[in-house]
Assembly symmetry: C2
Homo-oligomer: 160 residues x 2
Amino acid sequence: MRHILSVIFENKFNAIPRISGLFSGRGYNMNSMSFGEGEDPETTRATITSEGDDQIIEQIAKQLNKLVDVIKVVELTYEPFVERELALVKVQSSASTRAEIMQVADIFRAKIIDLSHKTITIEVTGKEDKVNAIIEMLQQFGIREIARTGIVALKREFQK
Amino acid sequence: MRHILSVIFENKFNAIPRISGLFSGRGYNMNSMSFGEGEDPETTRATITSEGDDQIIEQIAKQLNKLVDVIKVVELTYEPFVERELALVKVQSSASTRAEIMQVADIFRAKIIDLSHKTITIEVTGKEDKVNAIIEMLQQFGIREIARTGIVALKREFQK
């Protein structure tokens, strides 16, 4: 099962190795992690996804809470939330395939942000599975490079 | 000076702590790091930004290259490149401020992706300074939460 953890911590230079070390120390992979300045500029918010046993992730979340630099850990997995990921995909292209690639980009509401004689670079945002889907559709043209951000997520605020 | 490193490495569970540890070991902060599956599914691409002395960053890049899991390190700082970041911003809102918040979102071509009686959640993508600018404009309404991906970047392909 895919777990999503949102971790808010103080901007200390050793926070990331310590946070990521809690996963690797248990032989667990983070599928993705992305982070940047949080709502308070003294803090950073990281969004981490990991496939794994519910109990082990719960243990990791508890240990994260005990790290001195960590202010808050929220497990979003069981809550309603919005998630987004961004990817840049550089695809091989010639004059003859360009129109077809543009069509694929169009269908996924992706943007073309760079063009050369031999490549097109596409920016796409959406849920993880949408990003997977456009990458799969672009494979046929030959993908040169992909840079994915990993997902960010925030809890929905509606009340039942 | 802001440095941007693109690091491609094998999917090993201890790669992230080791990579991030190279920065913290020198007392250096990564301003952002984001990573996800690369063009080869056996690999991951991380984009790291760090403010710092050119020589120290160069040393870190060399040490990154020596890590067994690391396949390739590209310093994008001195090359033409495209960069993008994604942020989710949850802003306080009431019926009376909603129109004004929507106007700000519109100007930055941001999307509203969640709405409750008391909040609006906005998705924005762009260069780091654009994301900074919309966050600055939204501060006046009261920001509840921010989740930023950190930037991803790819080299431009044009030839001189």
